[in-house]
Amino acid sequence: MKAGIVVFPGINRERDMAIALEQSSGEKPRMVWHKETDLSGLDLVVIPGGFSFGDYLRCGAMAARSPVMTAIHAHAARGGYILGVCNGFQILTEAGLLPGALLRNASLRFLSMDCQLTVERADTVFTKRYQKGQTFRSVMAHGDGNFFADDATLDRLEGEGLVAFRYAGENLNGSARAIAGVYSPNLRVLGLMPHPEDLVDPLMGGTDGKPLFDALAAA
């Protein structure tokens, strides 16, 4: 599928994301500046990690109100695919495209380390190259990754199968019900805090994140 990566001021993981997408699809993704408003021709819009607008006010708050977001809302409304990683996940929650919010890590520390993720379902466009219940290695690098939603929302997410990934083992950032990533109701918008794009080549120390990009490339 044709992918685009949205770049906000302060985003710094867009090139890693581009490498991961190109490695799986053989096609360079289009880089979309946050002031652009035309996403036509794109099947997948990726919001990468970083510190958009310096994390001012709240992580992702400014980016979620950028000009490009109107086009991203329209993309979502017509059933387009969206992937938000780290700051991208924060931006998607701030924009109301995914439920909940990402609070300061319960430990108050910036966590930059490996983590283990459990695949909650393997029948989505993002996860079909994984197995349900499989655990894989990923990398977290965030200060605000503590997923929060009220109990009714958490029950709904779990009841409707919209939890994408959970932290296996220690829940270092304090996320509610160890949730690391969630889907939209149509399963076409995924947001997660850890960085699958960090492990897509043996030279990076592993390929545990590659199945996600392979699945997207094949979709």
């Binding site: 701030e94 919010a101 609070l103 890590n105 430990s107 108050l108 503590n146 929060f148 304090g174």
Partner: protein, 79 residues
């Protein structure tokens, strides 16, 4: 008019920053602190001269940007 928007985490939402402040106060010997909640104050200088209109405009700004209703509550004071 000036509008002051105070944004606080809703009760029930963990406030690790408040906890860290409480801990530091304890270290300084302030033993009377039960709990600390940290929030933010945003001061707006508005062109509006009608207090009711300034109030409702600032509340609109708080709902749309200044506060995240999932985790935060806000109050607006106009002067």
């Amino acid at each position: 008019m000036k509008a002051t928007v105070t944004v606080m985490l809703k009760s029930g939402v963990l406030d690790p920053q408040g906890k860290a402040i409480a801990h530091a106060l304890g270290t300084l010997g302030f033993d009377n602190v039960n709990d600390v909640r940290a929030g933010k104050v945003i001061e707006l200088d508005l062109k509006e001269t009608d207090p009711a209109k300034a109030q409702s405009e600032a509340e609109d700004m708080a709902r749309k940007l200044l506060a995240n209703g999932v985790i935060e509550s806000f109050r607006v004071e106009v002067a």
